[in-house]
Symmetry: C2
Subunit: 192 residues, 2 copies
DNA sequence: GCCACGACTTGACACTATCAAGTTTTCCGA
DNA sequence: TCGGAAAACTTGATAGTGTCAAGTCGTGGC
């Protein structure tokens, strides 16, 4: 069945953001490309930020699915490695979403309960991975520290790879996946 | 002595970015606030991105100074902790600069040799901290992995604290500095 | 004195999101 | 089947933006 304008707009926006970043994006241009008037997109979404909210919503859903994949590791460090790997893979495979999800100026996710919930769920998948890694005996502060560590590491890696100068600075890495693995493994040795 | 228009513009822009993020920023508004015509700022800077380049340049200089502070630690893990602490402190104290420095869409730092050099220098301060931490015997790949780890961790922490939902999600942390310390310490245990 | 150059102004242009209407299409119930 | 209402989309206007292309003004050097 034919694609609705709503879907077309989102798809085109995500594509643009993945290729050029969110900032030059013009919904007037997207409307023109879709062969409709400049105001048509705003009939489906209240305003500009509502469109970005929709993208973030979709992004957080995809994120949760990507992180909480099927195979569960037994070794603690292996869990950390998997999460980091998946975090980075997600960011690369979903650049258009990822670049919007953490940009508070583009989407006010706390203004949409649905997006808010999706973001909470995404964070919960991270937390559950950590608590799985850290075991039952850990204190709440312990979990907090390890969650922050893993999240920061994965997020830093992802943003530096996608938009930052990491690859330029670190030099040609034979295999990006290998680098991510090594980094996560190294950091995970602090977890016991 | 009186502040030149060039300085006024930069200062006002940095202030705005620190408070509201880089995106709604209008140099016409800044010009109006400074009591000059809308075109006056563009006489000192070629175009919009040149102004952001200037901010990034200043930011990278401040960054290098902030990271390579005086006291050198002997314990390896302590070096990692210091770098992370300073990285985060810098980002918080210089929000306006930090938010611009890593936004490739705002400033094309590779188009300004001066900014490019400042960015390279900034990265070198990170690398030298790592090589200090890792010792002489380490291989080039080893340094690469540890540099990526520390950089990702510090950068992830900084961005999640400044713009991200970390504090909201992780919950009220009694002391942010304590959290950063714990996180860096934990991760640093993987370095030996 | 003059004139050249830097600092700034003025005006226009193309572009943007958004408000406020109008018009067309679709669909559902009597 | 028909009518009407709501959804989908259009049209026009407004205020805002960065940028191009000129013009003006004042100051320092020859």
């Amino acid at each position: 069945m034919a694609q609705t304008l709503r879907e077309k707009v989102i798809k085109a926006a995500v594509k643009y953001v993945a290729e050029n970043g969110p900032d030059g994006l013009s919904f007037r241009q997207i409307a023109a490309d879709a062969g409709v008037s400049h105001q048509a997109p705003y009939h489906h979404f209240g305003d500009r930020s509502a469109i970005f909210n929709e993208i973030a919503l979709d992004g957080f859903k995809r994120f949760s699915a990507a992180i909480s994949g099927p195979p569960r590791a037994d070794e603690a460090s292996e869990i950390c490695v998997r999460v980091c790997e998946r975090y980075v893979d997600f960011a690369i495979a979903n650049k258009g979403h990822f670049r919007v999800m953490f940009r508070a100026d583009l989407c006010q996710i706390d203004e949409s309960p649905e997006t808010q919930k999706a973001a909470d769920d995404a964070f919960d998948t991270l937390l559950s991975a950590v608590s799985e890694m850290v075991g039952k005996s850990a204190s709440i502060d312990e979990i907090r520290v390890q969650a922050t560590t893993m999240w920061s590491l994965a997020h830093g890696l992802a943003t530096l790879i996608i938009d930052g100068p990491l690859e330029k600075k670190i030099g040609k890495v034979s295999d990006r996946r290998a680098l991510v693995r090594s980094v996560a493994q190294r950091a995970a040795e602090g977890f016991r």
